[in-house]
């Protein structure tokens, strides 16, 4: 049992708040100092291990400035030779467990990431903070009680959300379904079983992926219409009572039954890159806003909302943060050899940045580009007097597209699915778009003009399902068909190329990026300037004539 669990058990609420949520009282100077000290500790570990020496080359930085100037920015490819083989001997500290996330299809199906015992200790504190903050209305308020009923709707180990179950104080709460049972059944069965139990026992806290939270809410609407077995109701009177209550409430409101008709939650935590997309929907279904946190497999926890459910405050003690300003991000996207400049947490100003993290507490990542574009909405939360920069996640800017936290589609998978469906095309680009729900939007320039968009959509969707299992699960579980196709006008890509030539772009940049091109590029492709093309034709004619 960790210290937080002990404090919770002993009812030491002030101490528990201080330990878990006290970071919200830090001044930005204190925050930066914590980051600096923990990074220096990490540098000592890195300087002693093979991975550190490989990534940092000849550099043996001893200060934060040296670290930032002498160590290059990295991506997973830099770690893949070690982490894919799960080599523990090269790491700064021996891991206690390994977790993964979907990797680059075909190159490596999963990205394995080690987690050290010290990281897990920190995670336990953050999970408590998450639960406390999701249930409180004011600073210092702890509304959690021992054996509160908690629904945990996250993916099992070795996914990151499964790691959280390892750090979750299961013994202090009534987790539905119990973790031991849950890990042996499929995700869908688990959700179903968990809510069956919650109907019987009640529900105080829900921790689930945002897309799952919405999907469950939507099922309620459907379930409301199904027949109710009297026999089952008699067997489980508590469950019957709750259902009855829900039915009455929904009937009185004249709408399908929603989770909020059945349970009055103390707290709701949602996870997933699309959290903000579902925010209002979740509020409507569950009766309260979800507390969002931002994290990923490599960084685990990055930032978390507080009781105002607005911007996410960074967490100081799990990762060292650097931020690449948007202009620098664009430069580096244009020129892969360019080393963009970064700023530190006490230097950020409101604006867009790409997140760069270095693991602390013996974790492996060094100046690692997460590929997350975030918006620093404010340097502090004036309303709650929190002196920590506030962030919101915007999108992924690397060569992957995340859909509802279920899957990350790479360029290769998308390309292969287009190829496999056998349509004739010149070129394509893809990006994620949100219009009430997240979708993968594919812009294709077909060779034939009379193609049926729906048919292509369905065909590519089926291919994606074949190629990417999480993508198929997404549909089966949430009912989402997250694909949209737009056919581009003829010669879109040619016109783009000519435009690029005209502005003197290098050979590498004559064609747009397939994944996540800029909005400007998409706009151009949708309405290409064909006059450029005509000019070229005329010039060619002139040449022939001459």
């Amino acid at each position: 049992m960790g210290i937080e669990a002990e404090l919770f058990k002993r009812g030491k609420q002030e101490d528990l708040w201080q330990r878990c949520c006290g970071y919200l009282d830090l001044s930005i100077e204190d925050f930066a100092h914590i980051q600096k000290r923990l990074l220096l500790e990490q540098l000592e570990l890195l300087n002693r291990c093979e991975l550190g020496r490989t990534i940092m080359g000849d550099a043996r930085p001893e200060t934060v400035d040296e670290f930032r100037t002498s160590v290059p920015l990295t991506t997973y490819a830099d770690y893949a030779p070690y982490l894919l083989k799960r080599r523990m001997d090269v790491l700064p500290q021996k891991p206690i467990l390994w977790q993964y996330t979907s990797g680059k299809s075909e190159e490596y199906p999963y990205r394995w990431v080690p987690v050290t015992a010290r990281q897990l200790d920190q995670i336990e504190g953050i999970i408590f903070a998450m639960m406390i903050l999701s249930t409180c209305n004011n600073k210092g308020e702890i509304n959690l009680k021992g054996m509160d009923k908690v629904f945990y709707g996250m993916a099992p180990p070795p996914y990151t959300t499964g790691t959280m179950t390892r750090a979750f104080p299961n013994e202090l709460f009534d987790v539905v379904p119990p973790v031991g049972e849950a890990e042996n059944i499929s995700f869908e069965e688990r959700i179903k079983y968990g809510f069956d139990l919650a109907l019987d026992k009640g529900l105080d806290l829900c921790i689930a992926m945002s897309s799952v939270t919405v999907a469950i809410g939507e099922r309620f609407g459907r379930k409301g219409k199904s027949k109710i077995s009297v026999k089952a109701l008699v067997k489980k009177p508590k469950k019957s009572f709750r259902l009855l209550k829900g039915i009455v409430k929904s009937k009185l409101a004249g709408r399908p039954m929603l989770p909020r008709d059945i349970w009055k939650l103390k707290g709701l935590v949602s996870f997933g890159i699309d959290g903000s997309v579902y925010r209002e929907k979740i509020k409507e279904m569950w009766g309260r806003y979800p507390l969002e946190f931002h994290g990923c497999t490599e960084a685990i926890f990055i930032a978390m909302q507080t009781w105002d459910y607005e911007g996410l405050s960074f967490i100081p003690n799990l990762n060292f943060f650097e931020f690449i300003p948007e202009a620098e991000v664009n430069k580096s996207l244009e020129d892969s050899t360019y080393q963009p400049r970064t700023v530190l947490i006490d230097e950020v100003k409101p604006g867009k940045y790409e997140l760069v993290i270095s693991s602390l507490h013996g974790g492996p990542f060094i100046r690692y580009r997460l590929g997350h574009l975030i918006n620093i909405t404010a340097t502090r939360n004036e309303k709650l007097n929190i002196d920590i920069p506030q962030m919101k996640f915007l999108t992924r800017i690397d060569d992957q597209i995340d859909i509802a936290g279920f899957t990350r589609l790479s360029e290769k998978v998308i390309w292969k699915s287009i190829e496999n469906c056998g349509i004739g095309y010149y070129d394509w680009v893809a990006c994620k778009e949100i219009n009430g729900k997240p979708v993968l939007h594919l812009y294709i320039e077909p060779k034939e003009t009379n193609m049926n968009v729906r048919e292509i959509e369905s065909s590519i969707h089926n291919e994606l399902k074949k190629l990417d299992k999480p993508y198929s699960e997404l549909e089966s579980f949430t009912g989402l068909m997250p694909l949209k196709i737009t056919l581009l006008p003829e010669n879109s890509f040619k016109a783009y190329k000519l435009r690029q030539q005209a502005i003197g772009a290098s050979l590498d940049n004559l064609s747009p990026r397939h994944i996540n091109p800029s909005m400007d590029t998409i706009r151009f492709l949708l309405k290409p300037d064909l006059s450029l093309l005509r000019k070229t034709v005329v010039t060619a004619k002139e040449k022939i004539e001459a």
Binding site: H33, I34, L38
Partner: protein, 856 residues
Amino acid sequence: MNLWALIPLISCVIFIILFLSVLPQVKKRIERIFALFLFASMIWSFTAVMLLHNISASSNYLIFWNGLVIAAIPLVVVSYYHFIRAYNNKKAGMGVWIGYAIVSVIIILSLMGYVVKDAYFIGNLLYHDIFYWDFILAAILIPFLSMIIMLLYRRYKNSIDPTDRNRTSYLIVGWSLLVIISYITPFTPSLKTLPIDHIGNLINALIISYTIFKFNLLNIQMIFRKLLTYIIVIGVLFALTTVLFFISPDFFTNLPLFIIVIILSLIYIFVILASAPLIKLVSKGVDYLFYRKTYDYRQELLNFNKKMSHILNLDELAKEILPTISKAINVTGASLMLQDNKTGNFETQFIYPEDENTAPESTFKKVSLEADSAIIVWMDKKGKPLNPEQMDAIPELRGLWQSEKDKILSSNMGLFFPFKSRDKLIGILTLGKKKNKSILSYPDIELISNIANQAGIIIENAQLYTHAKIKANTDELTGLYNHRHFHERLDQEITRNTRFGGTFSLIMMDVDLFKSYNDIYGHLAGDHVLRKVGEYIGNSIRGIDLAFRYGGEEFTVILPGTHIEDAYKVAERIRKTIESKSSLKAMPITISLGISSWPSDGIMKEEIIGRADEALYLAKQLGRNRTCLSSDNKKQHDTQLISSEIRSNPKALSIIYALAATVDAKDSYTYGHSRKVSEYAIAIAESMKLPNEKIECIRSAGLLHDIGKIGIPDYILNKNTFLSSDENQLIKKHPKIGSEILKHVIDLVNCIPAILHHHERYDGTGYPSGLVGEKIPIEARILSVADAYDAMVSLRPYRRQLSLQEAVDELKSCSGTQFDPVIVDAFIKVVQKNNADSVVYNNDYIYQLKENEDID
């Protein structure tokens, strides 16, 4: 007066004292609620006193007070339940407010006379008739009573903190006794007429008091002590005046009014005058009662300011303060962490007790924390004490390293207390754990706080004094002790050895040819050499030895308790260290050393210094870079050469450097030219991997290549315009003049070919001999390139200074005609290799090198 009233009276007095003690402290919610409970208990006892004290009181009077007694009971129960909820970090909850509502109803009913039907005394025993619903009241209280016990039991069960468990167990016992006794009393015929339930209340009051003091239930010890002091003083004075009046009541009645006024005034003056010493006396007694064994030490600490104000020595301060604090607070020990001058880290510098036989769990381990460590930054900012067990709960300490945490937790320290001066953290007092296993109380912390400010100033003064003292005794250039301190320490050593017997040795040393070094490289480079020599001496001696800069390039070392043979070993270590740090790139640095010993070489200071000086002089005479003993000097003819490494180099070099300095001094434009040519030439030779002897020859030749210019008139050398052909002819003679000068110096004969032919050209058109290609000695070919390069990149009055690239291009264009192509290539490689750090062609080469490569 009914004696049975004494029980509630005592209980009431205790609750009044507790209530008044808590009242000034009520800041937190729990303190407010506890005060409410004490007030309720006090009311219960007070109403009981009012009920019982007068056996002849009227029936209505008895019914009224009896009603209030009964109404006070639920108030006590509900307020205690409220307190216990707060004690368990729970909000009041619905139950508490329902409870208070019931209490209000009962009070109203009792005031209206609906609680007690009748009340009367038989003898001094009270009997009453109550309404039946009073039994319902008793039943209503049962859930509250049970909840209290249940909450306390749960707290006890879940707690892993022994102090918390003890505290809770006392509260359980106190409350259980109160409940049991209160329920037994009305249902036991033999007891129901007696105020036995107040015995339960009294026991509970006593247990709560004990819990407060023993387990720090609330931080009211200090106020309680003061309150108790004043109550005793007021009680004594009141008793005295009352006795006075009772002794002679008639005396006052027969006196005129103004006399009574005067007497009363005198009495009050007496009371006022007597109260101050009485307060002091009682306060001392109360404090002694509370602190017992630690009392004297606490007094000592309170007088700390007076006692310590004159202390300027950190040792003395630590010796005074650490044992006293440890004993006063009754902890296992204490230590003082101070900032280290060199690293800036806070390190445990003084520890109490230092006894190694102490049990491991009580032994303090030394701790070192970086100045940037989260704990140091936090303490500096907040100025608050830190309990290591709270480290995890302080957000600012999230930056603490695991190794720092482990160090602190394994150090057996119970509290870190910051000492600040002028708002800056200057030291940390660390305390061990309480010997009686309890926790540090508020008065303990307050006691340390009292001395903290003064201690901070004293520590800072002592540090400044120590710093000033060190500075006064330190040579600024070398960081070694200075000449003045040398004499002081030598006197002390002689005095000590005279008194206690024993011996010590003295080493005197002098840097060889230092004047020449200064002349060639300048005084800045000379200072650098002295600094480095000082550093090497400091690093080569033992911990007990003391090194000094005697003056100029002379150094001394005092070696306490060391015979001359052992001193010789140390001396040789110093000599070899310095010699090994020299290289061929620049003028080598060596030292000569002389050793004397006390008392064999004399017992007076002057004798010892004189004998060591003579030995040093002998070492110089014997060719430098050696160690001589005072006994060598005594023997004169039978000189024992302790160092066998006799080389002729130093002797020859002294001549070279003196001559080179003379040549350079002739022409202000060529100042440093010989040195630079020598350096470039060495760089080429090293890159060509020539043998060491050749490199040494090239260095000497480089320094002396223009020695022949001694024979050239100054007006030609300093001419600002082009030279005439006659003047040119004269200039061309300088290689020959140089070789003529040097052929008389045996040590430099091997340099002659290089000097004589350094103006030969590879194609045979040079002077003086017109040698061609490989026939020109390689040393001369190297010098030729180095000389030309330096001339091109240096400023001359008759032409502009070439850029580095231009000079290199020029060398390339003359490769194969004027210069040997192999050497030009080698030189260009050297230039390119060192382009980044400008080693070769930068005019500040020597100084850069000095910073990077010691004295090489």
